[in-house]
Subunit: 326 residues, 4 copies
């Protein structure tokens, strides 16, 4: 089993993969090979080609919002399924090759997303250092570790604690993020084929394109969820790409495709939306099951279904006719 | 075949029955016996007991509104089905035993409902006559015809043209109703068992009791129809009878129980309402099929259903488990 | 001050008037003259002509439903205002001139509405008696009291306890109504001019005619109430009278026209409905104030209003123009 | 007058500013000084400090979606107003210092957003060249122009036609974008103070934070617009930043704050949402006025308002009391 992740080693995505593997049985994890990638698009191509078996990618960050690259690849790819989620606490350290006074730092390197999350701290604590861009926080740490001692002098990297440790760097400051408590959510994606069984605490992910000839289409779509008691836990707009103001929506709802209320709302969406892309149903990482009012319980849907079946069973077959319809 | 109607002969209900029989094949109508009743409740008892096979009753009048007696009996009775509707143009004549000047009339008899519909005309044309109450317009005509000539002098009846003709009365004035164009709608009711086949231009009749612990319950109910593109052609409130402000709703919708959009809205009602009483699906007498947008067409519902089936078919059986759910 | 009521004396409407007077100050009630009428329509004409100053009429019965006569007169009359409501517990007695065995009764007289509410009891206890129709339960009692002893023998009236007492009849049986706990609601109507001040526990009565070119118009109307947190305590459909399926709705909502949430929903109705007939705001007889969520409180509306005022105050006057709009 | 833009010269934002100035009167544009900035955040700080008078920034791209940097600054800043919009057709050229065969190119530099929009073309036409990152497409062109001829050999920049021309580069290929017809929308922002007058073809921009204790809050919010006939032309979710799943929505609606329907929907939002940030009403660049049904016209709102005023004018002042409320 080959699992792809956005590398290099020690990125937050790598950390998410390690978290996912930590709860799998030993006989599974023993067979897993971890494969770093540089882009979700490339990893997805390899997934579809069978070169890897699964792929973990960031989908949502509590500070930066939806991860466009992942959202757009998921929206555009047909034969993949989300089978699990992971949430990673995002925290950054400032790390150098050796103990250094902050005032001696000339260059701080990191990934732009990380920079955005620590820029207040950097302005306050190392205002004079230049900020250099790396392709990932892990790369910033790795590159610093690979430099000659002279080259590395006066340089630091903004990276994860895992990266600092892995590459043997010295931590100058911890928890330097401006918004404490930031989290990134990751999804584990496989080639389509199997949807994880319902656990009672599940999520379902969709990409929905609205009918563009109808104002109020988003309202109508949300009403279908509301009519079936289905809560949204995430909604992200993404441009469809053809012209301004045309959006698709990436949506997570509480519940599993096997929950009648979820199936009923998806059926309704399928009727009114030109595109409903089902990306999977999978267990919530927090394990919290949403309370369901009686009118939205499986039994209630099943009884309503049986009632209508009993009624339509009484309809006169059209061939014979009946006095009342002559 | 015994067909009950609100009698006596020549009532508007009788006329509705004659209209219904007129379009049935000769071999059916040859076997029909017409049975007059004095009340819908009595006739319904006989219908349930098997003494008659069908029953025709007024349900709605364009001037007087819903016919409470019929609505309440339909709401309270379980094993009956509406299989057809009829609409009768309501027009009244003033009829006497012989040609009489309007100024010579002392007493005008009729049924209270008819009186309500001609009171303007009576005030204008025979202001000095007393109004006497008969149990039906037909009874008013019949009783007048049965009187001695002396007794009948100075008397007239407000009745249907059919009644005047049938009982040999002289028409003093025609179309004396205050609102020209009034109509009464009748339903033909049988013991439950067979629902007429779908014709494409059908109606479905329901009695719905709302959840009384929820303000906005009527709104919620109407949304279920709206979400499935189902139009209401009639909605009547009737008290449930236990305390003030508790209503059930008698509803006609466009479409047949076999129309997916009707079945879907009824399923939703069944989930949220404590009582949904299905009274039948039957051809509209005006034969007008309602236009249905593509999103509410049968095929659209069927495709959505098939799509969900294909998805749930991919769910891992819970017994085996899957790596992602461990 | 002349107060009209549906007579004769001791009807339930009379009882409602007595209840209303009982809570007025002595100096008001001392000046009140009670004027019986035979029909709401006639009394309304007298009210509009200034012959009486107020009028009390039944509007709703927990068993029989809306009182069509009153509803239709209220809907059709422009310059009247409902200023109060009363609720009367409906209970019937069987009363005769003297103590009589039930088996000796030949004729039981009453008003059809009362008969409908006691028919189960009558069938069970005096199955062999004929039922005679009187113009009111009070008239049944009064007529019985006026008969000669011989004529009165074997006769009884179904009437209110008040009527039996007032006309000196002997009560043979009490609480003979089939549905214990039935209530009738009455409204006190004056010529338009003054709306009672807000008490915090009020009702507002409307007659609304829906746009007939729009399916879903009732849904839209209810959404306007829902969007402003306004509960409906009664909704009655009444035919408009021009053709089948055309209804107006008689509606009571919780709250007073001076409640911002009520005013806001009425403004919305005024925009979308061809006819919104305001019939008055008045204190609830039960004195129960409805809880209002913060988003529907007066302050919340006032703050939203002030916010928009502050914004529109910043708009450049159109005459001068601004760089951005050239 | 100092107008800030995301520089350097010849960026698409600069082009938007030139478009905006092109339609202003000569006496205004003569006084305008164009001031390049490197980030929206910095420019906004200068705007608030009074160092510049206006600022133009990209808000939305038809391929890449909302421009997070601008959206987040607008959401977080209180005293600024959007007074105009501009739309720029996005097209790219591949430009070098001199005529060069595509196969001779070793390095192609550009901004990551531009790279994303031409990556298909680059893979197809210059597969072997390395892609270098510049801080803007204009910087890529400028830097190329500033190199020595030797350094510049084998290098090209992906930039706007304007940049290629301005920096004297040779265009090797035109319209190399993968999605023809891409557009970017820009907003012109001033310090709060004046809102442009209503033109009849306007837009209003808002940032709305939903009540987080209520599932269905987005639905409720959209219903407020729908109830007032207000169309959304853009809706973008942005994380609030505190934890996963907490979003604000950046919204453009059709209409001006002076349109009654817009004011009414904003009032409703103000009641139900913890934060409604009004960012301005301004003329649509396409000049298209949206059709408004009669029920949403200004007159209709004004008449409804006047009607309620006339009713509340009739309410008895609470101090005096009235017989009906005693």
């Amino acid at each position: 089993m080959r699992y792809g992740y956005l590398g290099p080693e020690t990125t937050f995505t790598h950390q998410a993969l390690l978290q996912a593997l930590a709860v799998m049985p030993r006989e599974v994890t023993d067979t897993v090979e971890q494969v770093p990638f540089t882009a979700v698009a490339t990893a997805t191509t390899d997934l579809l080609a069978g070169d890897i078996d699964a792929l973990i990618a960031p989908i949502e960050n509590s500070v930066e919002g939806g991860v466009s690259g992942t959202l757009d690849v998921l929206a555009a790819t047909d034969s993949i399924t989300i089978v699990a989620e992971q949430i990673v606490q995002v925290t950054f350290v400032l790390a150098a090759r050796e103990e250094t006074a902050l005032t001696d730092l000339r260059v701080v390197s990191s990934h732009p997303h990380a920079q955005a999350q620590v820029q207040g701290w950097l302005r306050g604590h190392v205002p004079s250092a230049n900020v250099a861009t790396a392709s990932s926080t892990a790369a910033a740490a790795r590159d610093l570790a690979a430099m000659s001692p002279e080259e590395a002098r006066g340089r630091a990297a903004v990276c994860s604690p895992l990266a600092a440790e892995h590459f043997g760097l010295t931590v100058l400051a911890e928890q330097i993020e401006d918004n404490a408590g930031a989290q990134t959510r990751f999804v584990l994606v496989t080639r389509e084929g199997r949807i994880p069984a319902r656990t009672g605490a599940d999520k379902t992910t969709l990409v929905v394109q609205l009918p563009h000839n109808r104002s109020g289409a988003l309202l109508e779509t949300l009403e279908m969820f509301s009519a079936n008691g289905v809560n949204l836990s995430r909604i992200e707009s993404r441009p469809i790409g053809d012209f301004l103001g045309r959006y698709s929506f990436s949506i997570d709802v509480e519940g599993h495709i096997e929950d009648r209320r979820v199936a009923a709302s998806l059926r309704a969406l399928h009727r009114i939306c030109p595109v409903v892309h089902y990306l999977g149903s999978y267990p919530r990482i927090d394990g919290i099951s949403s309370e369901t009012r009686e009118e939205f319980a499986d039994d209630t849907y099943d009884e309503a279904h049986a009632w209508i079946e009993s009624l339509t069973g009484m309809v006169t077959p059209p061939s014979t006719g009946s006095p009342s319809t002559d």
